[in-house]
Amino acid sequence: MIGILIVFIGAVLVLFLGLNKPEGGMKTLSSLVLFLAGVLSLLESLSILNFEMLSNWAPKNMIDFSKGDLMFVSLLAFVTAAIIAIFPTVEEKGSDRLGLMMLSLTGAFMMIGADHLVMLFLGIEVLSIPLYVLAGSDKHNLRSNEAAIKYFLMGAFSTAIFLLGCAFIYGGSGSLSLSEISLRMSIVGHLSEFPALIKVGVILMSTGLLFKVSAFPFHFWAPDVYEGSPNKVTTFMAVIVKIAGFVAFANYLQAFEALATWYSKWLIILAVCTIIFGNIAAISQKTVKRTLAYSSIAHAGYLLLFLITPMKANMWILFAYSVAYALSTVVLFYFNDKYSTKKEYGFGMFSGLLKNNQSATILMVISLFSIAGIPVTVGFTAKYYLFTSAFEVSPLAVGIALLGSAISIMYYFKAFKPMFESVETNTNETHASKIHFVVYLMVAASVIFGMFPYLFERCF
């Protein structure tokens, strides 16, 4: 609860204080606010601080943050703080981009804590509506415009499908509260006794959420939107929307645990398709941004495998995977943003990086190892936990996921060849420029978490 309040108040402050100032002036304030929200949520989840009083203000059956949820809240707050800190700001006046990003984050928090379909719906919308604007924030760039309109239409369309699902579930179960629904479901018992309305509702609601996390049959918008949006917004979309979407997905599917045998076989098929499609399509991509977009689709596939495992006890695995995914994706998007130019936005942008900037090369290599799931990084440990827990449910799907990870190495390591090649020209201005210290921290974190993986299990 404290996270939502701080980020919301901070967003309003940033919006109004930065009304006539250049955006760079509000950068520090907004990342500090987000950092504070992250620290307080982390302390609350570790039971060091207690904000019981605040939670009592909110209606109890609407929104309720468990300890695990608070870990996710603090992760998202930290990641957004990092995104705002490391990406360059625009030249224009007004800090609306930062403010909207923070408002969108409050939506993500609402999704994570939601215990009621109304709250889940509002969270999704509060997350999405600022993002429609942000996707088009590069107003005179036609590609950004296109991304905005595509994201808007797809988002609104998926919301409508999601809502129809809510309506059916309401009709079938007679309640909108997730804990109430789960209670009523557990009484019914046998699978065939459930009203068809509930099953249709679950299918439709899942469809809406699969759109949001860009899983297989509903992924087609993602590469275009990711490519067209400004780099900072793309990073935010790829990380925050996906993690919040999966936490909300997991929370809501837990209410329908009685149907688990029925929906998990469909989820396995979707996960396998997403993994295969995301990885194979990523190989043939020429631009770095699109490759990362397809890789994020593939990661959505791995995360779908999480949904078939017993979720309640395994939330820490989702957390570990989110940490791994967030750390490496943000760093890679940062380097893509830093080194891409108008002319060169393919893998050639890294050519001769080793010669010009050794520390950047090391950071990139570690992040690529982490996102590909190579040992000693957090990417490996997270994948290991995820796959071992999913193996008990579906060995075949895990086999395909491993194959997918092997394919993914192929395109992640495409960056290595230009990085290590020797170049004629001596210095490359963009390559030689300094790297933000937060990037060092993030890469260090991904190594540390990789070496001490039991930290995750301990925290939950």
Partner: protein, 108 residues
Amino acid sequence: MLNIFQSLEISHYIYLSCVLFCIGLFGVLFRRNAIILLMCIELMLNAVNLLFAAFSEYMGDKDANGQMFVFFIMVVAAAEAAVGLAILVMVYRNTRKTDVSFLDSLKD
């Protein structure tokens, strides 16, 4: 007139909502004018509203949750329409078109 409404069963409302929803759905899938797409999305949301109101009435007096949800959907739909039209105006300024099929610069 009132008798007709009272004799309608819940299934009639479900069918009506589904038909309305599908009209909106096919509109989104097959029309290419962005404003019509917006209207079709509104139609889908309103079909859901009708369904919620019908279910809420069907559950009896104790349960106003569905009706409450309708208000939330209306508010969000208004916000969405505002943002959507703003995006549309932005696109129109750059391209002088409101047709979404012209927007295909993002490709593999």
